[in-house]
């Protein structure tokens, strides 16, 4: 039974997950573009490209006032995003699967690094969840789905780590890992996780606006 689920999860469901994720995000970007162009019709162009790019860079690196005003959350943010992306793209097991099906491959990181990075990412998620639950003002602001989205990201990490370390039942953990990762991908366009693409759009728009007023781009 578990093998049937596993085969579905690593086969058709992966295609479905990536299709939904990519077309969903593309739709959001195209919709933004169309609305923005319609609103700007007949007005002179005033987009400040340099400021937009600088605004993105200053937030992709911890070179902004938020890094100073909320240092712990900034650390947690980087400790979550960097390991998440590095492990997703450079874990040997991931690259091997891609090589087997498409014949493309790129360098990988040692598995022990992957374990450490995953633990760092999980710790960061734990910090963000605890902050939501314990910080008085943030607790009042938090809605249940804000915690659910953290759980959504934590599940593939947790099950992936468990599978690799052979904790619990290996086929079950691996199946849960693929399933939860697929679900995460599919939900990206419809949740706050859409910031994966829209972060760049929003920072560009705001950075350009700041540029018009000649304040900082960050």
């Amino acid at each position: 039974m578990i093998h049937v689920v596993y085969n579905f999860a690593v086969g058709p469901m992966v295609w479905l997950a990536f299709t939904i994720c990519i077309t969903g995000l593309a739709y959001r970007l195209i919709r933004y573009r169309r609305k923005a162009v319609a609103a700007k019709k007949g007005l002179p162009g005033d987009f400040r490209t340099t400021w937009a790019v600088r605004s993105m860079l200053y937030y992709l690196l911890p070179l902004n006032r938020t890094a100073k005003s909320s240092p712990w959350s900034t650390v947690a943010g980087f400790a979550l995003h960097i390991p998440l992306l590095v492990v997703a793209f450079f874990l040997s097991a991931h690259v091997i699967m891609l090589e087997q099906s498409w014949g493309v491959a790129w360098p990988t990181i040692p598995d022990v690094w992957a374990d450490v990075l995953t633990i760092i990412a999980l710790a960061a998620l734990g910090f963000l969840a605890l902050k939501r639950l314990l910080h008085p003002a943030l607790r009042g602001l938090t809605e249940p789905k804000d915690l659910l989205v953290l759980l959504l990201v934590a599940l593939p990490l947790l099950t992936g780590l468990a599978a690799h370390r052979q904790w619990g039942d290996y086929p079950l953990m691996l199946t849960l890992h693929v399933l939860s990762a697929n679900i995460l991908l599919m939900l990206i366009p419809f949740t706050k996780l859409s910031h994966m693409a829209l972060f760049f759009v929003s920072r560009a728009a705001t950075g350009s606006d700041f540029g018009k007023r000649q304040v900082g781009a960050w």
């Binding site: 923005a36 938020t66 909320s70 959350s73 003002a137």
Partner: protein
Amino acid sequence: MTIDTQTLSRTLADKAGARLEMWLSICSRCGMCAEGCHYYASNPRPEHVPAFRVKPLVDLYKKRGQVDATVLETLRDVCYGTCTMCQRCTMYCPHGIGIAALVHAARGVAVAMGLTPPGLAKGLENALEFGNNLGVTEDDFLETVEWQLEELQEEMPFARAPMDKEGAEFLLTFHPRDIKFYPQNLFNYLKLYNAAGIDFTMSSKAWDSTNLGLFAGDVAKASRLAANVADTAERLKVKALITAE
């Protein structure tokens, strides 16, 4: 209160621009914007975290305007009562969300539903009728300028206060409060501009630098008020407009 659902859904559709849609969907309520907010600095309650001000609007869009009056009243109280639209929160938002723009849109919804706070509505009415939000008449304004100029000339005999002069370099505008309650401030402005030796003028019709239409979220009235000053500036052929505060 009964809700005109047709007006509400039309307003929501009008306001749903590219940025509004994007920002409502990516605000993760991380709360880092709180560090920039003076409401939060003086009283760190959850309602004073800027991201909180986005909630009523998210709620409204999610329910496609099918809400009861309490939602709209909450929106009005939150968006007029806990924000000055200073935009500092945007400088602290990792996503660069224009929270003030969202508050402005929310206020626009309140305006369309006839929920403008009474004090603000009165000032806005004044601005449209008298050209300034405190309802100072043209005679009163001219008299106040004359009075302060006379006082100034006692210590600065060459001081001038040109009115409706064409072709000057700058057009001065003031906060109506300075004219009505603190004429000493007008004295100081005139002293400063005379001492600086710049070529300026005032307008007897358009001298209010505030725009309560913008503050209220009423785009149509904001445009009329801005046009009042901008058209005057063009008619007087000034090079630049100087606003108070």
